[in-house]
Symmetry: C3
């Protein structure tokens, strides 16, 4: 079975960041990565210093969003460096995976 | 703490593929893997050649779907070979993990 | 690019478990992990012995939930040991990742 090494990435935002559209456009048009999907969570906390004090009720008005994508490791490394200019530290996780 | 080595799998579809029910039945009844979950994304692109030219508006009518499952590595390897006959290349990602 | 080694965790529940709020409170207030997000799936099976016999229709009344979080490996190891007292075996998966 042929498998390609890729890097998976998950970016953690909230709706209140108003960055979803900008980041999707960035990943699509500028970086042209393959396989981008955005998800909306139903609850969450901890993405900003403030959120740690928020109640779950407050957070429900500012739902978590996750943008997931994968691509070749060297491509992702470059994308991550570009993302660092758009997203504050501590919100982007990556790990190695295999693509069938 | 006892941990079992497993392989995590994520399969990327869109609603327009009309494959969700078929794949869930396949994983459930035929392959009998444990721990299958399907998620609907809120936006995405890049799953087909065509999607790269689609605007986000178009894509919202054909939302992304992800099927996630995990099982023992040797079991997953066999499932992935069977999935290759049902899913076009470039839509299935897997990585090693530990199950508690 | 500075990267921190973290451990990603995904906990698989269903709405019928009525554990979501308890676990979010536990992870937030007691364990104080960073970056917790909860997602609702649209279909699933296999989380309990019974679910294997359920039809997809039945399951839609008891939708899958996933709680995802990440933190430093030694921190997560301790959290996982505590989670073992709250969650039955076979529902918590973890893997190493890098945080930007």
């Amino acid at each position: 079975m042929n498998q390609t090494e890729v890097t998976m990435v998950r970016i953690y935002l909230t709706e209140g960041d108003h960055q979803l559209r900008q980041l999707l456009d960035f990943l699509h048009q500028q970086e042209q990565v393959r396989g981008v999907t955005a998800f909306r969570g139903i609850a969450g906390f901890g993405r900003s210093g403030k959120a740690h004090e928020s109640s779950l009720l407050d957070i429900s008005l500012d739902l978590p969003l996750v943008i997931e994508f994968f691509d070749l490791p060297e491509k992702v490394e470059q994308v991550l460096q570009d993302l660092n200019k758009l997203i504050e530290p501590g919100h982007v996780v990556n790990w190695p995976a295999r693509l069938n």
